[in-house]
Amino acid sequence: MSEMKKSTRTSFAEALVKVGQENLKVVAVAADSASRYGDFVKKFPERSFNVGIAEQTMIGVAAGLALSGKIPVVTSYANFLTFRAIEQVRVDIATGGMNVKLIGTDTGFSSAWLGFTHLALEDMAAVRAVPNIAIIDPADAAEAYKATEAIFEYKGPVYMRLRGRKEEPLLPVAENNFEIGKGQILTKGGDVVIIACGGAVYDSLKAEEVLQSKGIHATVVNMSTIRPLDEELLMKLTSFIKHIVTVEHHNITGGLGSAVAEFSGGKRA
């Protein structure tokens, strides 16, 4: 793996400035979380709003902007964005298929020192329980950049998970073109398939090295889109590999593992 390191949050902010330059419809709505937008706020003050510590209002305002043809982007701690405002996400964003980009940060244990209130271990479960919203958890900073560009090309609501400010290694995912709804095979092996998303892709690649040394060959998949799930790829892999493991920085309930299990269960039925 590369020695290069970068945080997914920083990468998102850089991509957002580029997107904002190209697309004047992009509007940022912050809930006292303006730093997450990086230079966007400085460069486009007329398209940047802060509603204060009020996540419900942030989501509602974003929906209102979308109803007037704007493409709003909101970000906050993933747990507050999803749980504090899940009703607004459901009613104002999901049911109408609003073109709003929801960016949850500090997912998993990436801000563990802040205590359990700031962990986001159920955010995907919350969003997955709501219809229509695409869910993306980029593996590294390079993919976070590409995914940021892609979600603004995509018409409809998206929930993207990012981690903290901590710099993380760049993984061998960038050479694969990011596409919403497509998983990437990073290593090929016939004994076990490890399906991972977000920061867990790094862990999975490390695990693959350990397995390799023990003579076990693993296929590692970067499943950075949790919804829509890449069922075609899953179908292909599960047809010849019996053992499936999923890895994610999220509760076992309602995240990537659940999505894959639901797919597998449905396939058997």
Partner: protein, 271 residues
């Protein structure tokens, strides 16, 4: 506008009786407010519901939708025949709370406390685009117990959104009891003022007063406007006026037939 308001009442009573369901009391208190907004104040084009320069209307108290469906049909957004569909089937265009699939409905509402933030977003978009569109949001008074309203009220004032107008349908009743018995709202005008809004308290059934008030918005340049409209829940249906149980209650067919004369319902030609 008087006729329009009367027709809102008659349509609401007829639709809810026909369907055997609906929030009738909260619709009847809205009749004059909607008649004045749609017939005297707001700019819109029913032939082109997405006209960017239109004023927007959000019924935050979505349960009052009987009145909204009536005014939208009267304004020409759809054929009046469609009113027969109210709550009539699973996928009706006119469900018990309004949805955007119906022309003229600007936002899905029904869960309380969402309308002001949605309206803020629309008001901000108008500002970004340099449009002079205004956004009118009707909230219930009981609805103001949802904290999200006050988040949005604080923020709208901070951003000086004087193209945003909130009308509180102050009928003093909510589902379970009088608002002041559940969680006190008074002094309501002072609350809005202290949040940085221009405020007027008006008789919500007085057409002239409503018209002149809405013509004066924004009441204060650079401030959003709050109109506290004193109304009577169930107004126009004597049995229902100011009665707790009429939040979610409708006439039986028999009561409807008996009241036809009192309400001049037969002149509508319904059924």
């Amino acid at each position: 506008m008087r006729e329009t308001a009367d027709r809102i009442r008659k349509d609401s009573i007829w639709m809810s009786t026909r369907a055997g369901t609906g929030h009738l009391g909260p619709a009847l208190s809205l009749a004059e407010i909607l008649a004045v907004l749609y017939k005297g104040i707001m700019r819109y084009d029913p032939q082109n519901p997405g006209w960017p320069k239109r004023d927007r209307f959000i019924l935050s108290k979505g349960h009052g939708c009987l009145a909204l469906y009536s005014i939208l049909s009267q304004a020409g957004f759809f054929e009046r025949k469609l009113l027969e569909e109210f709550c009539s089937k699973y996928d009706t265009m006119l469900p018990g709370h309004p949805e955007m699939k119906l022309p003229g409905v600007e936002a899905n509402t029904g869960s309380l406390g969402h309308g002001i933030a949605l309206g803020m977003g629309m008001a901000l978009a108008a500002r970004i685009d340099g449009r002079d569109s205004r956004v009118f949001v009707v909230t219930g008074d009981g609805e103001l117990q949802e904290g999200s309203n006050w988040e949005a009220a604080m923020t709208a004032a901070h951003h000086r959104l004087d193209n945003l107008i909130v009308i509180v349908d102050r009928n003093k009743l909510q589902l379970g009891d009088f608002t002041e018995n559940i969680s006190q709202l008074e002094p309501l005008a002072d609350k809005w003022k202290s949040f940085g809004w221009g405020v007027r308290v008006v008789d919500g059934h007085n057409i002239e007063e409503l018209l002149s008030t809405f013509k004066q918005v924004p009441f204060v340049c650079g401030k959003p406007s709050a109109v506290i409209a004193s109304t009577i829940k169930g107004k126009g249906l004597k049995a229902a006026e100011n009665k707790i149980e009429w939040h979610y209650k409708v006439l039986t067919r028999q009561q409807y037939e008996e009241l036809k004369n009192e309400l001049s319902l037969e002149e509508l030609g319904h059924e």
